[in-house]
């Protein structure tokens, strides 16, 4: 046993360190990730310990970061790219969607692109525009990419290592507003001993309704479940973890028991993850549903100025309100 209490940010840092120790082909690339340790300090100390050849401060060019990472991966390296903020992934969007996603398919399986693209995502930190985006649906819509989001320190520690070990290109979403939250991590466990990267997981069992969330909203959903408990309602909370591919089996099982599902995410609802989940759950669990699948999401507007983000972001009250509506059906 080696249970440590780590923040989510430190868990990622430690996970990256383990991956670099395990495989010397793992290299990190990104803006300000060296001496500064990244603007969120996720790569803190890694350049000092692994050198500038393995922790590369790149020019300020996101398309360049991803494009050159493709070349490095072709050459046998395992690049882990940091995009500084969600809103700055778009200059690299073409490389990710047109190139990274399709490489293996186009080569009829001759080459894999084992690379990870780390993106701090979501709002809630009082930032200026372009620093609070939730771009997950764009990437999940693209076949050939895998998209995952961690929600707590333990998953952060293991999922980043699993993502780096994966032979497929992975968009790795980090809930930036949760970077500073602490949790227990058993660093003695091997990667095989923990939940596989692409499985969802029940993080709080319950009987009356199911709440599905990922990334930053998992904590919100758990808080809502705690509050609901006081009102005598038992909510089951599931952390989706992997957005593409999606593991909905535990969700189907849960909905068959509870009859109700509320999906929560920060991204705008229109054509978002919740739409896909609602469709699949309806197809699979139609006769078990007591009410329609409800979504609690960001509004279909650009992310607002930060003084309004409290109103924009789904919070505990909005989740409980949706649960109420589900019961009112």
């Amino acid at each position: 046993m080696a249970v440590e209490t780590l923040t989510l940010g430190k868990a990622l840092n430690t996970g990256l360190r383990r991956a670099m120790e395990r495989d010397d082909k793992v290299i990190l690339m990104g803006e300000d990730i060296g001496k500064l340790g990244g603007v969120f300090r996720i790569t803190d100390g890694l350049q000092k310990d692994f050198g500038e050849e393995r922790v590369i401060d790149t020019p300020l060019a996101e398309s360049g970061i991803i494009g050159t990472a493709i070349g490095l991966a072709l050459r046998g390296y395992r690049p882990v790219c940091e995009i500084q903020f969600d809103g700055f992934v778009y200059p690299a969007y073409d490389q990710i969607v047109s190139q990274v996603a399709k490489f293996r398919y186009r080569s009829r399986g001759h080459v894999n692109l084992p690379m990870v693209i780390r993106i701090p995502f979501g709002g809630g930190i009082g930032a200026v525009e372009h620093h609070s985006e939730s771009p997950e649906a764009y990437f999940s819509h693209t076949a050939g990419l895998k998209v995952v989001a961690c929600a707590n320190p333990e998953d952060a520690y293991f999922m980043i290592q699993q993502a780096i070990a994966s032979e497929d290109p992975i968009i790795f979403l980090e809930p930036k507003r949760r970077y500073w939250e602490k949790g227990a991590v058993d660093t003695a466990l091997g990667l095989d001993a923990v939940t596989p990267l692409h499985n969802s997981r029940v993080v709080r069992p319950g009987t009356d309704a199911t709440v599905l969330a990922y990334g930053p909203m998992v904590k919100t959903a758990l808080d809502a479940a705690t509050a609901a408990q006081e009102d005598g309602r038992s909510l089951e909370v599931i952390d989706l973890r992997s957005l593409s591919p999606m593991d909905l089996t535990p969700v189907f099982d849960s909905v068959r028991r509870t009859g109700r599902l509320v999906v929560v995410h920060e991204a705008a609802g229109n054509l978002g993850m919740g739409s896909e989940i609602a469709a699949r759950v309806t197809e699979e669990c139609f006769y078990s549903l007591e009410s329609p699948v409800l979504r609690v999401t960001g509004y279909n507007t650009p992310y607002p100025a930060s003084r309004l983000e409290e109103e924009y972001l789904p919070d505990l009250d909005r989740v409980l309100d949706a649960v109420d509506r589900s019961f009112g059906w």
């Binding site: 500064l36 340790g37 401060d57 200026v128 525009e129 507007t301 309004l308």
Partner: protein, 382 residues
């Protein structure tokens, strides 16, 4: 061959990895000691009144900037990107613009904004998180601040192409465009595409790069192996490096480049060689990546001190003038502070405003839901 003009200088043979490129000269008209010097290609002829005006601008924008930094420290702004050290580059280039010229700034151009006559409160509401800029970029001839690095250089180029299409070039009352960006931005695809487009379409645009030596933590060598102004040659237009801490030189070089653009001679790249004295933004810790001796060396080249030295030496201004400028700047800063402290939070319904010109049933439905939901809390402690 003139000093500071584009010339593919020899890079000195095989340079080792990480070697620093040789530093070419720049255009300078005022030394750090406050001496006027001449340059074969560039000159300015300011009246005493104009010189005092430039001094006043420099002191005012520095003071307003310091006030904004203080407001951030006190939790009144979410973040602030200080212009400290870059006042000469911004005031010099900003004052070189004519009223019909259009500017495309980054998030740090508070000095240029000031020169455009825009209320200095505007960027504070952006950094406070009350709005996302909100001034009218077209009416003010000053685009919204652009946070995504380099994006605005293409907007500037397109705007300049529009000017050319409108036949507003080639005459003295023509229009020109100036696009601001940093040294880091020169690595972006967008900036390189802007160079290509402006060159190919001969657009009346001036690219004004404030090389403040860092992109957050990354030093210049992480973006380029040649002096930035020399890049222009490869794209087919002139590049010039100017002492970015010399307001006279920045003015002269920018005025000449804008005039050239206006007269139909196409784009110019200006590299204002300067230094960011403070942190990248208030969330940055520069001690992690730079040493204080470097900062001190640049301190000696302060853009304001040298103008003051000139004004004193040439008896253009006396202590009474300097005191009054300080007092006025202070009063303006106090006013700014009061206005920030009393700035109301935005109405939540603002979330749903201005998404579409012609509206959207989806957004309208969400607005109604939102209002009903908010009303359900009325009277509660929420």
């Amino acid at each position: 061959m003139t000093k500071g003009a584009t010339a593919p200088r020899r890079s000195g043979g095989s340079r080792g990895r990480g070697g620093t490129p040789p530093e070419p000269d720049y255009v300078q008209l005022l030394t750090p000691d406050g001496e006027r010097v001449s340059h074969p290609d560039y000159s300015v002829d300011f009246s005493d009144e104009e010189l005092r005006g430039l001094y006043r601008d420099l002191v005012t924008v520095r003071k307003l900037d310091a006030e904004a930094t203080a407001l951030q420290r006190q939790g009144e702004l979410g973040i602030w990107a200080s212009l400290l050290g870059q006042e000469a580059a911004q005031v010099g280039s900003g004052r070189a613009m004519r009223s019909q010229d259009m500017a495309f700034p980054t998030y740090r151009e508070h000095g240029v904004l000031y020169c455009r006559g825009i209320d200095p409160i505007m960027p504070l509401s952006l950094f406070r998180g009350v709005d996302q800029g909100g001034w009218d970029p077209v009416a003010n001839k000053f685009n919204l601040y652009t946070i995504v690095i380099g994006a605005q250089t293409l907007h500037a180029t397109g705007y300049a192409m529009g000017i050319a299409k409108d036949g507003k070039v080639g005459t003295d009352d023509g229009e020109a465009v100036i696009a601001y960006f940093g040294d880091g931005a020169t690595s972006q695809g967008d900036v390189n595409e802007a160079f290509i487009w402006s060159s190919v379409f001969h657009a009346p645009v001036v690219f004004f790069c404030q090389n403040n030596q860092y992109a957050i933590s990354e030093p210049l060598e992480r973006q380029t192996r040649i002096p930035l102004f020399q890049r222009a040659a490869g794209f087919g237009f002139p590049g010039v490096r100017v002492d970015g801490n010399d307001v006279l030189a920045c003015y002269a070089v920018t005025r000449a480049a804008l005039d050239n653009a206006r007269l139909g001679q196409g784009p110019t790249l200006i590299e204002a060689y300067t230094y960011r004295m403070g942190a990248h933004t208030t969330s940055d810790d520069p001690t992690r990546y730079r040493v204080s001796s470097e900062v001190e060396a640049w301190q000696a080249k302060d853009p304001i001190a040298r103008v003051r030295a000139l004004l004193t030496k040439e008896k253009i201004a006396d202590d009474a003038f300097f005191d009054s400028v300080d007092a006025d700047a202070k009063a303006e800063a106090v006013q700014l502070r009061e206005r920030v402290l009393t700035m109301p939070d935005p109405d939540p319904a603002q979330i749903f405003e201005h998404v579409y010109v012609e509206g959207s049933p989806l957004v309208e439905a969400e607005r109604k839901q939102f209002e009903a939901y908010a009303a359900s809390f009325e009277g509660s402690a929420h």
